[in-house]
Amino acid sequence: MKVLAAMSGGVDSAVAAARAVDAGHDVTGVHLALSPSPASYRSGARGCCSLEDSRDARRAADVLDIPFYVWDVAERFARDVVDDFVAEYAAGRTPNPCVRCNERIKFAAVLDRALALGFDAVCTGHYARLVDGLLHRAVDSGKDQSYVLAVLRPDQLARAMFPLGDTRKPDVRAEAAARGLIVADKPDSHDICFIADGDTRRWLEGRLGSQPGPIVDAQTGDVVGGHDGAYAFTVGQRRGLGVTVPAPDGRPRYVLDVSVVTRTVTVGPEDRLDVRTVLAGEPTWCGPQPTLPWQGLAQLRAHGEVHRCTGEVVDGRLVVRLWDPARGIAPGQTVALYDDTRVVGSATINSTAG
């Protein structure tokens, strides 16, 4: 097969590409330039789009002796991921940009271009497994990235290749070192790649400006503090509220609700965060559509715990009822449905109920 390996400059995608070569595929490496003006060097564990990352990716491709190109997807990325990220926060939701990037960039714009250029598949360093065309969790549960891939349709998965799904991260690093890939020791990337210093709140402030409003206690209805922008708060958040008035019961307070319209952040005790019903958008099925109502597992945030649940579709939208309550579920996140290790499908969370 002619395989296009997306190479970020990190260790995972380099080893994934190497394994695709070993499997006998005709592999071409491509680094996706996501920023129109990349920084020269990466700082710490953040970012994946510096010139240094691009050079690291090229270096790895040279070691593997495969052709290498940089594809400029900065415009698409800015529109479909970054602008969407800002708009979601502006609407009081908490988006997951990695999900959007997989959905709209890696397995859409890039995959389409690859297919048009005569490639058969796109290979990435995601930790997930494909078994008979179905998406499963990775063997390394600490690294599992099936949640951010749960937006992919069967036709996209049919063109995807995740060679690392059966390997634990330390073994991937060891393999990189053994193959002479100098990225073996590179730190893992965390956080959001386009927010270089990791300070999401300040980054958003620069784009959305100051929108001051009250922080209201859900139990007493009192204004207990103020904020510079409701968008900077996420349901379930406890730290950084700046509330000085103690709660009547003395217990810590959490963000219960973010209303951008009234610029109000509502806080209250932890038990008010309990969610039993998740109302989500139109589902994407990663495999055959299950018979509904369906019983299985739901995961409501990246690396979050799973809950037994019942899922059904009402008016084209996914409704998930959890058997035991989940805490602090933010609209904008993805609900991913699992049948044991297999990803059944996903949808974006619109609202929740206790």
Binding site: T28, A33, S54, R58, Y69, G118
Partner: protein, 390 residues
């Protein structure tokens, strides 16, 4: 494998490679006073004389540098500084809009850090600066101009500038002129003295010499502030221990390129013309960018530059590479990301046409088979690339 990227770099001619190889294990610093130093110095000075003779300069006007980029930086910054020091009103630089980044970014650096003001000299749709354009720019405010820089031949579209005429105008106003002649050596007749310019950049690896060695031909009466400080080896304008084997090979290649220029140019022109004809037949809507007449004194004989409507240059490059055909989009890269070429934009083309472009450049090792390979591959490649955009 068909290599059609000679404008990026061209193979060393065997005579230059042999000269260099023979000297690589000799020890001698051309600045030393002992025998080894004297031997090295002699090689350098003979090379300097050979380069001067080949390019119509005096030996004292040849300043060896570590590459064309360095020579361009030295000319633009050094002459600017010197002229401004002599008269603080001189802060304007007149630079053509189609320069290589070595000149363009030097000017922009001067603007950002040294208070220079840039006047970009516009070009017509073939990429040429009209002499009247320069005259108008000079007449407006002749006393504030530090320097003019217009390249001899463009590296992307191959357009040859009317350097002699431009130099005469600059001279009329008493303003020094630099020309980046990197792409011209071996393809065009070149004579430093006759051209009337004050500074001219040439670099080895574009005409069969080694990488990392170049010369700035700098008129004897042209003052230039150094960029690199140190031992002052080259006329106190450029410091650094001289790379004797590279300089010797550079001189051999320069002599040969100039001697063979008429023959090479004719051969390149024939090959290039059959490439252009073949491509246009295979892809009828292919657009030839730059000088349409293919006159070897108006367009580099080894240059062919097309836009393929509906394609992205990137995709074409990759598909051709996969078929063993090596060419270039000719546009500047940052992090390997292709940006629409400033040259095509300056010529009045839109971003789409700029992004759809591809450069084939021929050189002294090019063959009929290389041209045939392109003509064979281009139609299916363009068709495939078209299906990727949209």
């Amino acid at each position: 494998m068909a290599y059609l990227d000679h404008a990026a770099t061209t193979p060393m001619v065997p005579q230059a490679a042999e000269t260099m190889a023979a000297l690589l294990s000799d020890c001698g610093n051309a600045s030393s006073l002992h025998g080894a130093g004297r031997r090295a110095r002699r090689i350098v000075e003979e090379s300097r004389e050979a380069v001067a003779a080949a390019l119509g300069a005096r030996p004292s006007e040849v300043v060896f540098t570590g590459g064309g980029t360095e020579a361009d930086n030295l000319a633009v910054k050094g002459i600017f500084w010197s002229r401004r020091d002599a008269d603080p009103r001189r802060c304007r630089v007149l630079v053509s809009a189609v320069e290589h980044h070595a000149v363009m970014d030097s000017a922009e650096w001067l603007a950002a850090r040294e208070g220079a003001v840039i006047t970009w000299l516009p070009v017509d749709e073939t990429g040429r600066v009209a002499p009247q354009t320069l005259r108008d720019a000079l007449v407006a405010e002749p006393d504030d101009v530090a320097l003019v820089s217009v390249m001899t031949a463009n590296n992307e579209v191959g357009t040859v500038q009317p350097v002699d005429e431009l130099a005469a105008i600059a001279r009329e106003f008493g303003v020094p002129m630099h020309t980046d002649a990197v792409q011209a050596v071996g393809q065009l007749p070149l004579d430093f003295a006759q051209s009337g310019v004050d500074a001219m950049t040439v670099t080895g690896h574009k005409f069969g010499g080694p990488l990392g060695v170049a010369a700035l031909l700098l008129g004897r009466d042209v003052d230039c502030v150094p960029v690199l400080h140190g031992g002052g080896q080259e006329r106190d304008v450029r410091s650094g221990t001289l790379d004797v084997p590279a300089i010797a090979a550079f001189a051999v290649a320069a002599e040969l390129a100039v001697k063979e220029q008429p023959v090479r140019a004719e051969r390149l022109r024939e090959l290039r013309n059959s490439l252009v004809d073949g491509v246009v037949v295979a892809v009828p809507d292919a657009q030839l960018n730059g000088e349409p007449s293919l006159d070897p004194l108006r367009r580099l004989p080894g240059n062919a530059h097309f836009s393929f409507p509906g394609c992205e240059g990137d995709a074409l490059l990759m598909l051709l590479d996969a078929r063993g055909i090596e060419c270039s989009t000719g546009s500047a890269c940052s992090a390997g990301v292709a940006r629409p070429s400033h040259v095509l934009l300056a010529m009045g083309h839109d971003e789409a046409r700029a992004r759809a472009s591809l450069r084939f450049s021929l050189g002294h090792t090019s063959t009929d088979a290389d041209v045939a390979a392109v003509i064979d591959a281009i139609a299916p490649v363009v068709e495939r690339a078209r299906s990727t955009s949209g």
